[in-house]
């Protein structure tokens, strides 16, 4: 028997009629249910491992909670936040973080950009090899990297100072002097800028070749091609990396902790915001105060990110948007 088209039509009308109160057909309703089911493990995990802990931190931030004397916890309102204003360590840690960020972000960025440009240069053979090897240090655990560099920067036996000695320069105590610790940290940070390099490189490789061809016909120099084609075209990737690096400065912990044994030395020069937070929470057991520090950290990151997003309209160019 041949299936008549009319029969199919009636069937479809039947299903349409059976819409439930949400205006969904049973099938759509069934699918919606499955959508929620697929997402339920994530939602449950988020609730248990992220949302509840964050709310707990919020509550703690208004108490003097300390795990060693949990029964005596009292509600203290906003006094933890008031304490922060007069807490020298907190201001030092904020200043340390800003100083590091102001030095590290431009240096890493320029270095990453130059590296990406070189690896991307037109006539380079073995691009993949360079790319792979330059990225490799980013894979190494920061803790191990820190100790390796502590060896490299050792005043007596480290090869930086040994090399400097052969040309008659007495190398500094990289990790022991306040004026050398930031350059040292930035230098170690450069070792792990593989992510920056790879993302910039991917951005550059996404720039349509026609743009450069047109520029060459117009007689644009290499620099002008870079300034007016490459840079605008990769600005979304630049923006993405800027955001990551800014957030990264406020989450900075492993390297400072391992290199200086968590002391924050020399003279608090490596007392990063996050290290100060960690010490308050887990060394001094001042979890209430540390929770307040955590919330301020979050607010700082939030404000910086919003600022970046607001200004991004001026300098980030999304090719796809214009094409629309």
């Amino acid at each position: 028997m041949e299936l008549s088209p009319v029969a199919v039509n009636t069937k479809r009308i039947d299903t349409v009629k059976k819409r439930n109160r949400n205006g969904l057909t049973p099938l759509e309703h069934e699918r919606e249910k499955w959508g929620y089911l697929f997402l339920s493990p994530w939602l449950l995990g988020f609730l248990l491992f992220t949302l509840l802990p964050i709310l707990a931190t919020l509550v703690f931030s208004m108490t003097d909670y300390s795990p060693v004397n949990a029964e005596a916890t009292t509600f203290v309102g906003f006094s933890n936040f008031a304490t922060m204003l007069t807490d020298d360590k907190m201001w030092i840690s904020l200043w340390v973080t800003i100083r590091y960020a102001v030095l590290a972000i431009p240096v890493s960025f320029i270095f990453g950009l130059v590296l990406a440009l070189l690896v991307n240069s037109k006539h380079l053979v073995g691009k993949d090899v360079f790319r792979t090897l330059f990225y490799m240090p980013s894979m190494i655990p920061v803790v191990a990297g820190a100790l390796v560099w502590a060896g490299v920067m050792n005043t007596q036996t480290g090869w930086i100072n040994v090399t400097l000695k052969t040309v008659g320069i007495t190398g500094p105590d990289w990790l022991g002097e306040v004026e050398w610790i930031y350059p040292a940290l930035v230098l170690i940070g450069l070792w792990g800028l593989g992510n920056l390099m790879l993302t910039l490189l991917a951005g550059m490789q996404g720039v349509p070749n026609e743009l450069y061809e047109a520029a060459v016909i117009d007689g644009a120099s290499g620099w002008r091609q870079f300034r007016h084609i490459t840079l605008p075209m990769i600005s979304p990737v630049v923006f993405y990396n800027m955001t990551l690096m800014l957030i990264g400065a406020f989450k900075y912990f492993d390297l400072a902790y391992v290199l200086k044994n968590g002391t924050g030395g020399p003279s608090d020069a490596t007392l990063f915001y996050n290290l100060n937070l960690y010490k308050n929470a887990f060394t001094y057991n001042l979890m209430g105060y540390a929770s307040a520090l955590a919330w301020v950290l979050f607010l700082i990151i939030l404000i910086l990110t919003i600022l970046l997003f607001v200004t991004s309209g001026r300098w980030v160019y999304y090719a796809a948007e214009v094409r629309k």
């Binding site: 992220t50 894979m139 190494i140 191990a144 929770s291």
Partner: protein, 279 residues
């Protein structure tokens, strides 16, 4: 100057510069491996570039000081494998739900997950620590592994990947054949998404292997220490003059990662590039 010569000169300069940079980049890793095979006396005498024969004695020193490298290796491996499995499975499950089904609040939920990527872990760690100690899960690997169920960045990656490979016709065909929705995910879509799952898996594995902060806060028994935690103890006074042994400990945490990197660098490089370009 003739243009061809100029071009060649330019190229040569770039090569020289890149090779010098590459040497500076790789020398610390090479020295780390070499020093793991040298005795402390040799290391103190000066810089050496060739392997020596003291690996076994360095290992014996670590053992004598009570540092059990195989144990740390095993611990790190268990945590990394379990974290990887949880991250990959649940991220793809979540992403599949977001890609394939239509439901109220889907768009908002996805945006929410994206915002979550920005939230620093510091904001939750104190509350998290408190809950885990209440539940008796501190010093338990579960507290390191389970939170990966609700990874945020991984869902973003999985969703981008699924969108590029998913074939609606295959899903419909599966339904016609009477496969359950979960069955379609497991038997049809997951195999198709395997390369993406593999890439995500490498990232999760390396991330878990290298994770120091969370493990350092949550794990207290020395027998349960991960490799980075053990490596961190090498800095202590006990090892003050045992450089060879320290380097061997460092090498033990670095070499597996380097091997993984060289085996899968193609996936890693393309995974990072993909994340950047998607935007």
């Amino acid at each position: 100057m003739n243009p061809k010569l100029k071009l060649n000169l330019q190229r040569a300069l770039i090569y020289v510069f890149l090779v010098i940079l590459l040497i500076i980049t790789l020398v610390p890793i090479w020295m780390l491996m070499v020093n793991a095979t040298r005795s402390t006396a040799q290391i103190q005498q000066g810089v050496g570039f060739w392997p020596s024969v003291y690996t076994a004695s360095n290992y014996q020193i670590l053992l004598d000081k009570g540092l059990d490298l195989p144990r740390g290796f095993f611990n790190s491996f268990i945590i990394a494998i379990a974290t990887t499995a949880v991250t990959v499975y649940f991220s793809f499950l979540t992403a599949y739900g977001l890609v394939v089904y239509e439901f109220k609040g889907k768009k908002q939920l996805y945006n929410f997950i994206l915002i979550l990527v920005m939230i620093p872990m510091q904001l939750s760690i104190i509350g998290f620590y408190h809950y885990m100690s209440k539940l008796g899960l501190t010093d338990n690997y579960l507290s390191l592994i389970l939170p990966s169920i609700a990874a945020a960045g991984a869902v973003y990656f999985a969703k981008s990947y699924l969108e590029s490979v998913i074939i609606q016709d295959l899903i419909d065909a599966g339904r016609v054949d009477g496969a359950s929705e979960l069955g379609i995910f497991h038997n049809i879509m997951f195999p198709i998404a395997a390369p993406g799952a593999f890439t995500l898996g490498i990232f999760s594995f390396v991330g878990a292997w290298n994770n120091f902060f969370n493990a350092y806060i949550l794990i207290t028994t020395r027998d349960k220490y991960t490799l980075p935690m053990l490596v961190q103890t090498l800095r202590g006074d006990v090892y003050r003059h045992e450089y060879g042994a320290i380097y061997l400990g460092l090498a033990a945490s670095v070499v597996p990662i380097i091997i993984i990197y060289f085996l899968f660098s193609r996936f890693i490089v393309s995974g990072i590039s993909m994340g950047a370009v998607k935007e």
